[in-house]
């Protein structure tokens, strides 16, 4: 039988194309246009070529922010991924009220808006009225995230772990639930240890969702802005000025639209490259499994 081809389905994609054009492509084009010009407002632009890119690539400020960003992302991923897997492994497997309660409790931090998370931790960490700050101060630990860089880093890392580990837990839990009981029964017959069950059954079966979790956590943490900005404002000094905080300071605080546009394009390219690598690994590992 001859197969008929109907290309009209492409029209169904048009609304999405329009949406993407207005929300992503047109702003991106504008950023590219700004990155090669200087402006003092009133839609007056002066051509500077690739000067801003050179300036940003040699800027110590950008290097420092990038270094801080990489350290932040590495630390939170090193904590959140294993912790998320550990919590998922210890969640009840059989459906029931207790399981539902656990899932709701685990999902709660994900439902809180980012600026509220920042405000919660800003108050929580205060020595005068916050439970965390007051307790640490009471037991003799010198903790003041507004003056001490280590305390500020500790606060934003703990805050991110509290906010986002749930995502890894839920994804890992979904992966664990999809493993048929037969695998566990076979492992039991073979008298496999708990570690071997995890290493040879659970981890390989969770690989797909874990790669998604890693990709999402990488992208989110590399673009993080609201929570650390609300808690520390990038301080003390520039200790917690991550890439997006620095970018907003440059674009809105200093109104340096040209350098900020060049900065954001470099930032975008780095995220695009790493996300593409993760995506490719994910797709190819799926094909390998299939």
């Amino acid at each position: 039988m001859k197969k008929t081809q109907n290309q009209k389905a492409w029209f169904m994609v048009l609304p999405v194309l329009l949406l993407v054009a207005f929300s992503a492509i047109i702003p991106l084009m504008t950023v590219v246009n700004y990155s090669v010009q200087d402006t003092f407002g009133n839609n007056e632009f002066f051509w500077v070529g690739l000067e801003w890119f050179e300036e940003i690539l040699h800027s110590e400020r950008m290097h420092d922010a990038l270094r801080r960003q990489i350290i932040f992302t590495l630390i939170i991923m090193t904590i959140e991924i294993p912790l998320g897997i550990f919590v998922a492994l210890n969640m009840p497997k059989k459906s029931g009220l207790w399981t539902s309660l656990c899932l709701v409790l685990v999902a709660l931090p994900l439902l809180i808006p980012w600026n509220v998370v920042g405000t919660i931790w800003q108050i929580f960490g205060r020595v005068d009225i916050g439970l965390l700050g007051y307790t640490l101060d009471y037991i003799g630990i010198n903790y003041n995230y507004t003056q001490d860089a280590t305390a500020a880093w500790f606060t934003i890392i703990i805050m991110d772990v509290w906010h986002w580990t749930s995502l890894v837990v839920l994804l890992s839990y979904a992966g664990l639930k999809s493993i048929p009981d037969d695998y566990y029964q076979a492992a039991k017959i073979d008298q496999a240890s708990r570690w071997n069950v995890f290493r040879y059954i659970e981890l390989p079966k969770m690989k797909g969702v874990l790669l998604i979790a890693i990709l999402l956590r990488f992208m989110d943490s590399f673009m993080i802005y609201t929570e650390p900005f609300v808690v520390t404002g990038g301080g003390p000094g520039n200790a917690t000025t991550l890439l997006s905080i620095d970018l907003v300071k440059m674009a809105i605080g200093q109104f340096d639209l040209g350098p900020a546009a060049a900065f954001s394009l470099i930032y975008f390219l780095v995220i695009l490259l790493i996300s593409w690598v993760f995506y490719t690994v994910m797709i190819n590992s799926d094909k390998g499994n299939g």
Binding site: M29, T30, V32, N33, V36, F45, L50, E54, I266
Partner: protein
């Protein structure tokens, strides 16, 4: 419609038209001569569209590296990018 806020310039216009032109050419090419995905030196399956993406993304980094080490202009980087894109389409 006033688009002066977008700050268009001739070079950036040429840049975007070139990318759009490349995408259109790729679409026409894939309709006229459909190609199956293949596995190249990166050991990943790629379609011609994937290879265009890898070429463009890699070219952006080549230009940035050129700017960081040699500064503007980037004509040399453009030559390297063309060589890189040709290699990607041949071997990746």
């Amino acid at each position: 419609m006033d688009l002066s806020w977008m700050g268009w310039t001739t070079p950036t216009m040429i840049f975007f038209v070139s990318i759009a032109f490349m995408i259109v050419i790729m679409i026409i090419w894939s309709i006229k001569a459909p190609q199956a995905p293949r596995v190249g030196i990166l050991r990943i399956e790629t379609t011609p569209g994937d290879r265009l993406f890898i070429s463009l993304l890699g070219s952006a980094f080549i230009c940035l590296a050129w700017l960081a080490f040699f500064g503007a202009p980037v004509w040399g980087a453009l030559a390297v990018c063309l060589g890189y894109a040709a290699s990607v389409f041949k071997w990746v």
